[in-house]
């Protein structure tokens, strides 16, 4: 009886140990799976973070480069504009002293003829005025202007760098042929001419290379 009792006890303990081992084994499996799942999930999240970071880095790079390129381009345009304005200033200065040049009478005649042609009147009133000039300087040659034209010297036109304004007798139609008006009419052409003369092929596009790499 004692022997069979021992066997029974051993079996009870053996079953318990088996069950305990199984419990531990299952726990270890669960633990391993839990670690694996956590690592995989974390790696997926990390990949997403890095993918977003790549896009953010590229956006940051582009933003920095493009803002600096814009600033540089602006600097170049400002410099070119300053230079062109300086030339225009000299042009105005030169035009304002046209009365002191040798071909002044020819210039006045041309300006007056153009203005009279523009209004198409046989009896135009032609107002003339230039800086550094007085009325007695306008001894236009005979036949320079239509016979019916009335010439009036107008000091105020000197404020427009000088020139001629022709109007019909009723004063309804007038054509301003002052240097200021001509500068305004020629605005774009002048800017192109001055720019191409000074800068030639130097275009403010040096940053294109960088833009291309940023794009």
């Amino acid at each position: 009886m004692s022997e069979s009792l021992d066997k029974l006890r051993n079996r009870i303990l053996s079953d318990a140990r088996l069950k305990a081992d199984e419990t531990i084994r299952e726990a270890n499996e669960k633990a391993e799976q839990s670690r694996k799942d956590a690592r995989e999930k974390a790696e997926r999240e990390a990949s997403e973070i890095l993918a977003r970071a790549e896009a953010e880095a590229e956006a940051a790079r582009r933003s920095i480069i493009s803002s600096r390129i814009r600033a540089n381009r602006l600097r170049l345009l400002e410099e070119r504009n300053k230079i062109v304005q300086s030339v225009l200033g000299d042009v105005e200065q030169r035009l304002s002293t046209i009365a002191t040049t040798g071909n002044f009478q020819d210039i006045v005649k041309r300006l007056a003829t153009e203005a009279i042609d523009a209004i198409g009147s046989d009896h135009p009133t032609v107002r003339i005025g230039f800086p550094k000039a007085s009325g007695d300087k306008f001894n236009l040659p005979a036949g320079a202007l239509p016979r019916g034209a009335t010439i009036v010297y107008d000091d105020k036109l000197a404020e427009e760098l000088g020139g001629v304004v022709a109007s019909d007798p009723e004063g309804k139609i007038a054509y301003r042929n002052t240097f200021r008006a001509r500068l305004d009419r020629l605005d774009r052409e002048l800017l192109t001419l001055i720019s191409s003369t000074i800068f030639g092929d130097q275009q403010p596009d040096q940053t294109q290379k960088v833009v291309a790499t940023a794009a």
């Binding site: 419990t23 531990i24 839990s34 410099e79 042009v91 041309r110 240097f179 960088v210």
Partner: protein, 105 residues
């Protein structure tokens, strides 16, 4: 051995068996709890590493962009000098041509 002693022994043995199973259950809980903590630690480490690499990427991108921008600035500075030189050399020519254009419109 009497019958009572035998029953007593079996009762003791079953108690020990229950203790063995209970200890295993507690140990299993501990293993799972530790694994959970470790999983969280691993997750934090992986994410921290990703965040660190993200910062590095952003810093490197900014530095590279700054370098490229500096190149662009150098070129701009050179072009400005070229403009100024061209202005000094061709200013009179430009004024002459512009005056001629205005006079001959």
């Amino acid at each position: 051995m009497s019958g009572i002693d035998a029953v007593k022994k079996i009762v003791e043995t079953e108690a020990e068996a229950r203790r063995i199973v209970e200890e295993a259950r507690q140990r299993a809980q501990q293993i799972i709890a530790e694994a959970s903590k470790e999983a969280e630690r691993v997750r934090e480490e992986v994410l921290a590493d990703a965040r660190r690499r993200r910062e590095e990427m952003l810093t490197r991108a900014r530095e590279e962009a700054e370098k490229e921008a500096m190149e662009s600035e150098k070129e701009t500075e050179k072009l400005i000098q070229d403009y100024r030189r061209a202005f000094e050399e061709r200013k009179n020519d430009a004024v002459r041509k512009a005056v001629e254009l205005v006079l001959q419109e």
